[in-house]
Homo-oligomer: 350 residues x 2
C-alpha cells in the first residue's frame, strides 16, 4: 500500500540537501559494514556526486537510527534496461532479434514477402531498416512472436541471446551490460533491496536471460507484455501460447502503471536514461521518505555512444535524453550519471 501523504517536491529537495551534509564519519561508526560494502561494490565508479548519491541513499535507508530508514519489505529499486543496464545502440537488442526472425516467419507465411515492412527487412538494407517507424516495428514484433507456445519462444530467444553479437564490439549482447550498473544492482541487493527491471522491452524476452545476466529472477522483470492463451495440445497437456493482445506497453506512463500492476508498491529508487523513464522517476519521487532517482547520460562517444540531445549531444531515435528531461532532473533533484566522468570503465571487459 502506498501512503496517502507523499512528500512534495520541496521535501525531496530537502532530503537531498540533507543527504549531502550528512556526517559521514558518524554514519560509518554506526554501520561500518556498509561503508566497506560501498567501497568494494562500486569499484568501477569514480568518486563524485553520482557515486555519493547512491552510497548516501543506501546508508540512510538501511540505518535504523536514521529518520530516512526504510523497512526491508519496502526496499524496491527499479531499473530501465535499454540504455540504462546495457547498450541500446544502434538498435534495441530485442528489435534486432525480431528483425532476424523475419526470414523464418516469411518462410512460413510467404504472402508477407512482398508486403511492407517485411519487404524492407528481407532486403537486408540496414539503412532502410533503421528508418522503419515504431508502427512498422510493432507489426514485425507481433508477426514474429504471436501464436508461439511460450516454452518455444523461451527456448528460441535463449538460443539467440547465447550466440548473437553486437556489430561494433563483436561480442555477445549480454557482455555489453554496464559494469558500474551491475555493481549498483549488487550493492542494493546486498543491502536488502529487491532489484526489478522495468523495461519497454518484451517481458518474456528479458526474463529469458535476466537471472543469468543481472541476477534478477523472472518475477522481478516487468516489461511490455502481450497476453497469453491457455489451451491443450493433442494429448490434453495444457500449455500457454503468446497472444497478439497487448496488455501492457511498459514505456512512458506505462512504467508506473506496470509497476502498480506487477509490484504493487512505489519504488524507493529508480534508474533510467530517457524520456520513456520520466514517469517512472516522477512516480518514484512522489512518494514520501528517502527516494533516489538517477538518469544515465550517454556522453562518451569513445567508450560507448554520445546521444541526447541534452547538452548538445546528437539526437537519435533511440533513447531520447532531451533538454526538457535534463531540466526536470535538475528541478526535481534527480542525479545525472555521466558515463564519461562517473564511470571508470563501461564494460567488464574494458
Amino acid at each position: 500500500m502506498e501512503s496517502n501523504v507523499p512528500s512534495s517536491g520541496v521535501n525531496r529537495r530537502t532530503l537531498l540537501s540533507t543527504l549531502a551534509v550528512l556526517p559521514i564519519p558518524g554514519l560509518l561508526r554506526t554501520t561500518p559494514a556498509l561503508g566497506q560494502d560501498a567501497g568494494s561494490h562500486l569499484a568501477s565508479w569514480n568518486d563524485g556526486p553520482a557515486k555519493q548519491a547512491i552510497i548516501d541513499f543506501v546508508r540512510a535507508t538501511t540505518d535504523q537510527t536514521n529518520p530516512k530508514f526504510v523497512p526491508a519489505e519496502d526496499r524496491i529499486a527499479t531499473f530501465d534496461q535499454d540504455g540504462t543496464l546495457w547498450v541500446e545502440h544502434p538498435m534495441y537488442t530485442q528489435v534486432i532479434y525480431c528483425l532476424e526472425r523475419v526470414p523464418a516467419v516469411v518462410a512460413q507465411k510467404p504472402e508477407l514477402k512482398n508486403r511492407e515492412p517485411f519487404k524492407t527487412v528481407m532486403s537486408g538494407n540496414r539503412e532502410a531498416m533503421a528508418k522503419l517507424s515504431l508502427r512498422d516495428l510493432e507489426e514485425i514484433l507481433f508477426a514474429t512472436l504471436t501464436g508461439m507456445a511460450v516454452d518455444v519462444f523461451d527456448a528460441e530467444a535463449k538460443k539467440w541471446i547465447e550466440t548473437a553479437k553486437h556489430p561494433r564490439w563483436k561480442r555477445l549482447y549480454t557482455e555489453l551490460t554496464y559494469q558500474p550498473m551491475l555493481e549498483v544492482l549488487q550493492y542494493l541487493r546486498d543491502n536488502g533491496f529487491r532489484t526489478y527491471i522495468v523495461t519497454g522491452g518484451g517481458q518474456d524476452f528479458v526474463r529469458v536471460y535476466a537471472q543469468q545476466v543481472y541476477g534478477i529472477p523472472p518475477e522481478q522483470v516487468v516489461g511490455t507484455a502481450s497476453g497469453t492463451k491457455f489451451g491443450y495440445d493433442k494429448d490434453g497437456k495444457p500449455f500457454l501460447t503468446k497472444d497478439p493482445k497487448l496488455l501492457l506497453n511498459d514505456n512512458n506512463a506505462g512504467k508506473p502503471e506496470g509497476i502498480h500492476l506487477e509490484i504493487g508498491r512505489r519504488p524507493r529508487a529508480a534508474f533510467g536514461n530517457s524520456t520513456g523513464d520520466r514517469q517512472m522517476l516522477e512516480y518514484t519521487g512522489a512518494g514520501d521518505g528517502a527516494r533516489l532517482m538517477m538518469l544515465v547520460l550517454h556522453d562518451d562517444n569513445q567508450r560507448e555512444y554520445a546521444y541526447g540531445p541534452a547538452q548538445g549531444l546528437p539526437d537519435t531515435k533511440v533513447g531520447a535524453f532531451t533538454e526538457a528531461l535534463y531540466d526536470e532532473a535538475k528541478k526535481d533533484g534527480w542525479t545525472v550519471i555521466s558515463m564519461k566522468n562517473d564511470w571508470k570503465r563501461i564494460f567488464a571487459f574494458d
Copy 2:
C-alpha cells in the same frame, strides 16, 4: 523459464506413489528439522492423506539428496483465496464490499438509482441481490471502483476490511481465514517457498490486507486487475487512477495466464477449491519434477458450509466443486482436503 519437456500424467502418478512409499525415517535422519517443523506447523491438521501429502512434498523438495529436490528460487506455491484461504459464503467478500459501496456511488450519480442492477442493490433485498448475474456484478464492480485514485481506493478498502463483519459469525472477514491453511502458508515459507495468492478477486483489494492477514506481500498477490491511468493532480503531483479496462480476469484459464504475466514461473504447488482453479492446478501439474495439487472440499456444514456438488453436496453459485472436478482430481493425483475430516479446527477462534 519453463522446461520444454514437462512430465506426462503418468509421471505425476509415479511421483505420487513414489512419495507414498518414501522411507520417512531415513528422510528424518537427513533433515531432522523438517520433521519437527511439520509437526509444529500443521497443528490444526488431523493425520491423514492430505496432511501427509503436504509433508511429503516439502520433505522431498527441500532435501538435496532427494531426486525431487527443487532449488530455492523455483519454490513457488500459489493459493486461490475465496473458499481456499477464507470463507466465500454466502457471497465473495469483495462483492459485499462493492454492494455496500453502491449507495455512495448512487449519491454521486443519481441517474443510476432507478437503473438495474443498482435499483436491486438499493432496495436492500438480500434475496434479490443474491440472484444478480455475473454481468450485473461486473457492472457494479466497474461503477464502484473505476475512476478512483489508487491511493483513495486503498484507504477506503482498508477502512472497510477493518470493520465489516460476516453475517453468520459476526466477526471480521479477516478472522474467517482457515487456520489449517495459514499453517500451510507458514510451513511452506519456512521451507523456502514463496507463497502467492492467485485470486479471481480484485488484485488491488486483496493487496490491501494480504500482508497482515496471510503474511503475503503485495507483489505476491495476482488477481483480477483493471488497468490504471497515470496522470497529474492540479499541483503537478503524479498519481494513478483505476481505469475501467479489464487487463486480467484471473479465473479459470486466466489463472495460469496471470501466473505467467506476473510471476513468469510455473508453480510447484497449487491450492484451490473450485472449477475456477482447475486450469491453475492443471498448469502446475504439467511441469516436471515434484508437484503438489490440492483442492479444499467444503463438506462441513456444522463448522463452515457444505456445498459442491461433488459427492451429493448442494450446488451453489459460489465455489463450484463439480463431479467433473472431483473425477479430474482422482485421475490426476490431486489431493482433496476434506474440511470435515482433515481439519481439527477451521478458524483460529474455534
